[in-house]
């Protein structure tokens, strides 16, 4: 046997540490992903044992599928919740960072929805949004809104109701990250602003906001990617309805695969979803230098 030199030895030991994890990643990520790339070109249906190779037909079908465009539009509406949640989180973080007592308690309260809520809380929101008797519309009527919205029950408003839930859910996470970024700002910098006579909001606008722009960028990208992958909360409360008004792309994939058992077609849609994530990631890769100002 040939004696290994030090470098080779290091390599084998390194790989040995990584191997147990890598086997699982290959088995449950890489191989299924490759398998899916094959399914894209087939008409595989769970209920039908005969599988034909149909080339790009799934994509032709997809680009003529009305539901695809509806789900794209709904996905965009869903993604709009990301910057809104970030904006609110930024305001909360700036205030909590310097201008309050009880900072720890407040931070925990704002963060609570993020950590405690799986789909369970979605069912609570379902009742809160009840159009006829629900407490939210109760409050709206009490303050003089005569025709409060139907929230989850109408085609026009259902996606916005989902957005509200999602903004509420993500707010705490975004706030924690912003708070961490704010703590890294050196106090001297803020002092300089004060001496210049800059008003508080001007300090925020011209000093704090530019300094945390890398964080903003990071939150935007990770938030978009995380949101576009989600469908559980929507499946749990509306199943994509009423009509298809809350069917977003990721839910469209799930329903095509596991309600209609069109596995080949679902695979094709899932790779469109991947392409969007890839696009966002590329924007991140190249945009980082361009849009982030110190």
């Amino acid at each position: 046997m040939m004696k290994m030199n030090w470098n080779q030895r290091q390599k084998w030991i390194g790989l040995l540490f990584i191997a147990p994890n890598m086997i699982g990643i290959s088995l449950f990520f890489i191989i299924p992903a490759l398998f899916s790339l094959y399914l894209v070109f087939t008409n595989y249906q769970f209920t039908n044992p005969i599988v034909d190779f149909i080339g790009l037909d799934n994509f032709t079908r997809l680009f003529h599928d009305k539901l695809f465009y509806i789900s794209l539009k709904n996905t965009l509406l869903f993604l709009a919740s990301v910057p809104l949640s970030m904006g609110l989180a930024f305001i909360v973080a700036v205030i909590l960072n310097k201008s309050v007592y009880l900072k720890g308690i407040l931070r925990s309260l704002y963060f609570m929805p993020y950590i405690t809520s799986g789909i369970a809380i979605a069912f609570v929101w379902m009742l809160l949004f009840q159009p006829k008797n629900g407490p939210i519309n109760g409050v709206l009527r009490a303050i003089g809104v005569e025709n409060p919205p139907g929230w989850l029950s109408t085609l026009e408003t259902s996606m916005y109701a989902i957005d509200i839930i999602w903004i509420w859910f993500m707010l705490g996470y975004n706030m924690i990250i912003y708070l961490a970024a704010l703590q890294e700002i050196s106090p001297e910098l803020l002092e300089a602003g004060k001496i210049d006579g800059a008003r508080r909001w001007q300090t925020v606008r011209h000093i704090i906001w530019p300094i945390v722009s890398p964080t903003t960028f990071l939150l935007l990208i990770t938030g978009l990617i995380m949101t576009i992958k989600t469908f559980g909360i929507i499946q749990a409360i509306t199943q994509g309805g009423p009509g298809n008004s809350t069917t977003i792309l990721s839910l469209f994939v799930y329903k095509t695969a596991f309600s209609y058992y069109e596995m080949g077609y679902a695979s094709a849609i899932s790779w469109v979803l991947f392409s969007i994530i890839l696009l966002i990631t590329i924007v991140q890769w190249y945009g980082q230098k361009k849009w982030v100002h110190y």
């Binding site: 990584i18 899916s36 950590i115 799986g118 789909i119």
Partner: protein, 275 residues
Amino acid sequence: MNVFNITKWVVTAMMLFFAIVMILPFVWMISTSFKSPAEVFVFPIQWIPSEIIWQHHIQVWTGDQSFVPYYLNSLKISFACMVGATFLSALAGYGFSRIEFKGRETLFLLYLSMMMIPPQVLFVPKFIMFDWMGIYNTHWALILPGIFTIFGVFMMRQFFMGIPKDISESAFIDGAGHFLIFWRIILPLSKPALATLAIIDFSWHWNDYENALVFLIDQDLYTVPLGLQNFIFESNIDYNGMMAATSAGIIPMLVVFLIGQKFIIQGIASTAVKG
């Protein structure tokens, strides 16, 4: 100085008000679970029920759709995933941060790029593969993939890179190998990071609805989110029962949060800022 403090208290009160609005859904849930059906939608909202009714909670735990089996299933799956994922992530994180070898960075980049693949791409092939493997509609379909996490590897790597090189250097001179250093020196130094990953991982699996939805069919295998969904679909207008069931699903996470929030907050903040 005095004036400034008053302003600060006013701002505190304002932020406290909004914070309480944030957690009202939880308060409403708990309050409703103790109310009589007639009081559910009374307006103005009755936060404290006129009579505390335990019946809905008793029903959730002892009725014909008892939550006990769902709890045991969720605990088993979440615990197994947490232990496996934390250990394997620490191992791989060590390999990616404290052993230098050729091709390491490329391999790590491959790992990170796998994070881009959405679960929706993997559901169908995993469904078919699990069927072949005979683990579809068993808990293994959730546990086996659950112990491998790319995020965990990333997080542990970030943490290990922050530990000074000299600490393991002297052990090397004494002739210790990598595994001994990992086990005796690095792991004990990383307890906070390990705790953070364990808590985050546990809460993921406890809240995981999507995978359970795809890979489980039999009701006796259901985890808490699926059991909850089932309960809600079948209880139609029993709003008190629904809220009692929802409380049952959320309260364990509230407890985990209250105990481990320091770890959770620091962990989330550190991965994002350094990442």
